[in-house]
Point group: C2
Chain length 210, copies 2
């Protein structure tokens, strides 16, 4: 395996676990068993390494997700919000194929993208992959046309917060849940519990201001 890939793989696991700012280049290069300077030589900087890591996933996810959302919009005459959110599951789970073993860390990484690093990755994603958000808004609008654009704005951000927060703390929560309930839980299980929650939240009745 070449140095670049070794770094990417080691960085992915460490970043997912401890966040971007919580992981040092020395930890990464030590786990990857390469020299410290290799990150700057191959990627230029830590920021560029993070971008490259996210790009590896987003370049696969983005077309998959847009296709999935478009399919669910075309097929259904009476589209429900649950169906919209369900459209995320399959594309997300196919990301696991990117890793030769185990499940991908993309969702945890996405979580840290929002909470770490003063949101520079938030900018990176929204400017480089705007199609994801656009299609999502369109699908939600089709499933719930009465929702005003202002309510749409807030509820989508609430939803993003819910998902992102759940994903960035997934490993800790799964540990607690398994101790408390003796029930095995994996990332897919969390996603499947998340869907009815956010679907109901986005689909809640709106109240008249007053």
């Amino acid at each position: 395996m070449d140095t670049k890939t070794k770094i990417l793989n080691a960085a992915e696991n460490l970043f997912a676990d401890k966040g971007f700012t919580g992981t040092s280049l020395r930890e990464i290069t030590s786990a990857a068993e390469v020299n410290l300077a290799a990150v700057n030589y191959h990627f230029g900087s830590k920021k560029e390494l993070i971008k490259a890591l996210m790009k590896r996933y987003l370049d696969v996810l983005s077309p998959e997700l847009q296709g999935s959302l478009q399919r669910v919009m075309e097929d259904n005459e009476n589209l429900t919000l649950e169906q919209v959110f369900e459209a995320f599951v399959e594309p997300l789970l196919t990301l696991n194929q990117l890793k030769e073993q185990g499940t991908s860390n993309f969702l945890q990484l996405l979580g840290h993208s929002y909470t770490d690093s003063q949101g520079f990755l938030r900018w990176f994603i929204t400017t480089n992959y705007p199609g994801i958000i656009d299609n999502f808004v369109m699908a939600v609008h089709k499933a719930y046309p009465e929702l005003s654009s202002q309510d749409m704005f807030w509820r989508l951000h609430f939803t993003m917060g819910t998902a992102v927060f759940a994903m960035s703390s997934t490993s800790a929560l799964i540990d607690i849940a398994q101790n408390d309930f003796n029930a095995e839980v994996d990332i897919e299980g969390v996603i499947r519990r998340l869907i009815p929650y956010v679907a109901a939240g986005v689909g809640a009745n709106t109240v008249v201001a007053g």
Copy 2:
């Protein structure tokens, strides 16, 4: 105003805006116009400063909130989830009285408590103010008795994530919303939009596993 209070006030605003790890003691002491060493002299360490800051709010909020939740549980025979979440609003807004002007930064601080600093404040709050969570769980259970303890666990964490994330990015989102909709939004407005969302999320129908 004495040095201790000057530090607390400056720290509160900076922490709320940029997070705990994102704010240095040098920024704080510079904004407070006190010497750098003053923080360690008066509080002992940065961690203790953060604790003191949260304590200033939690000592007021905790009894208020427990009272509010107990009141809403006693009065209502057919308690709804909306009512449970509504019970948070008044106690939270009374926190503004702690500041001589403007709205309190408590919710933003609470947001950062979860995302910053590898969750040491999460521990601090849950161990020092367990009554808040207990009463909350009891109220939700009364409003939605069919919810299994496992679903309760996940949905409460989703809810916490939603609220915390919304609050920690409130200032950024409010700016965007005001530009896009020309509508004035404040923290109370965000809370009032949040309530139907999380109430619907927690109250969503549960699906049988499979």
